[in-house]
Symmetry: C2
Subunit: 324 residues, 2 copies
């Protein structure tokens, strides 16, 4: 079996060597650009790990794995337009470096390219792999729409929030694992357990993201701590706080949410103090543990020697105790 680092190397090499057509350059340069900005390469690693878990050929899983990463980056390019985000991984977003039209069209062709790479699987699993991918892709779009709706809504509750992050983030982790398992010729049942592992891990991962944004170590976090607070983003912490806050806490929280001219540091500190008083960090951590446990119990149901699952388990641990 391969180590995580070996798999990441394979992926990074494959992405770096990938050739795109020369023309029209306005269409293909942005793709090369966004793909070169790096990132955790978490999803393609999951494809390869799942394939490897069942003794499949990791080399055969490489193209579909890169297809999944291109799909993920397509969603980032389009989401960044919608969110009017100036930066992605510390560099200019595609719609800023070029323009919105280029970003729309480059994203479109990335989705097509993702499908092209996903079809590079054996005939016997072509249909099932594509079904998983299409269902996943539609789910991610639904998640993004629900997330945009949340921005304008005052009625978001925790179950709605969890469903949103399940669609926007978690199904793609599940889908990546399931596709890798199919390539590795896993039995359907085991492929489904891996999907569940990935889906629950993905929800835990996003909850961790929400926590890190407020409680991350500024030295290690890599982004501005408190960014979600400043943009009034409906995270688990905020949704939970709005649900349980009463009296003065509630008033104060609503004050900060509606204050447009607040000094950034003051707002972040004040809202964090409310979160602390309400104990929403602990509630989020508890929720996160529950999803992590669900993930691990799905993994446990796969009846293969436990040590073969070590790579996936340590990958999951890495994700959930990360600092950035």
């Amino acid at each position: 079996m391969y180590s995580i680092d070996q798999l990441q190397d394979l992926i990074n090499k494959q992405i770096a060597e990938k050739q795109y057509p020369d023309t029209p350059s306005e269409l293909y340069e942005p793709i090369q650009y966004i793909m070169s900005l790096g990132g955790k390469r978490m999803r393609p690693a999951l494809v390869l790990m799942a394939c490897d878990l069942f003794g499949g050929s990791v080399m055969k899983a490489l193209d579909p794995a890169v297809g999944i990463e291109i799909f993920h980056n397509f969603t980032l390019v389009h989401d960044d337009i919608m969110d009017k985000a100036p930066l992605r991984r510390g560099k200019q977003t595609v719609h800023v470096k070029w323009n919105e039209n280029v970003a729309i069209l480059a994203g479109d062709v990335m989705l097509v390219e993702a499908y092209k790479l996903l079809t590079r699987v054996d005939d016997n699993i072509l249909r099932s792999a594509l079904d998983v991918f299409s269902t996943t892709a539609a789910g991610v779009c639904e998640g993004q729409q629900i997330d945009m709706n949340f921005e304008l809504s005052n009625g978001v509750d925790i179950s709605g929030y969890l469903e949103m992050i399940r669609l926007k983030t978690a199904v793609l982790l599940g889908g990546s694992l399931k596709i890798g398992a199919l390539i590795g010729n896993a039995p359907e049942e085991y492929a489904d357990y891996l999907y569940k592992f990935g889906e629950n891990l993905g929800i835990a991962f996003q909850l961790q993201d929400d926590i890190l944004d407020v409680y991350g170590d500024p030295e290690k976090f890599g982004k501005q701590v408190g960014g979600d607070i400043l943009s009034n983003k409906k995270t688990f912490l905020l949704v939970k706080a709005l649900e349980i806050a009463e009296g003065i806490d509630k008033e104060e929280l609503n004050y900060w949410l509606s204050s447009e001219s607040a000094e950034a540091e003051t707002k972040v500190q004040s809202v964090t103090q409310i979160y602390n008083r309400l104990g929403v960090r602990q509630l989020a951590e508890h929720q996160m543990s529950q999803f992590a446990e669900k993930a691990l119990s799905a993994l446990a149901k796969i009846d293969i020697p436990s040590e073969r699952k070590d790579t996936l388990r340590s990958f999951a641990e890495r994700l959930l105790i990360r600092e950035n």
Copy 2:
């Protein structure tokens, strides 16, 4: 065999009955909306006709045919954002009726939906049908990018223009026919001839579009005659005129291209008169005939009883002698 009208009825019924998920409604209502606005339904009709030509089951081709129409409408939704178009088929465009973010995301999910429907073919042609579709889809995106580049370029020549319309318009007609032929279990060679038929027909169709925009009968055209002239759109007529105009014609043409405050009717009349003096309409019609002939000669190479090809031939005639 089915008549064109019978096939159109099947398609319209299938599109009207198609169900989308209820939520998130912001994502799926725009899809239902744009698909309900009608249009020629030319591409799905080509899928069905090609399948029927080889005695295949038209019912089996219906889902992929609708997939092609959804793909086509996805390109319209995204192109309309890029072109800042307020109207489509006389109704508000999706980004105007909702907003740009909704239009981006609804388009994305339409592309996924198109792939879903395209996979509803028999196992033995699944890979080849998807390959044709992906190549076609990437080509359409390239064509749109080249078209956007042309807006900012002064150096467009006729061969570049023809290549742009081949990609933006013609390959999808070819791809629709080839996919229909594959579903009808046509031999690969015949499927390729049908592709060539569609591709050349598509170029002829777009040249006809260019001609109609200037020389169409205002009573029958359905859009404002001269729209392309008013927006300085690089059509065959304009590119050709810029290529051959000399002396006073050239000066006058450049004057109208750079004049931003010209009265609309005066500009249309004046540029049309230059076109008339240069004879670019006849040149466009000649070019159109050449592509139509190429199309028909590709069709002729398919060795099946000539009367089976009547439906496709009359469809082609209808396209090329239309008035709107």
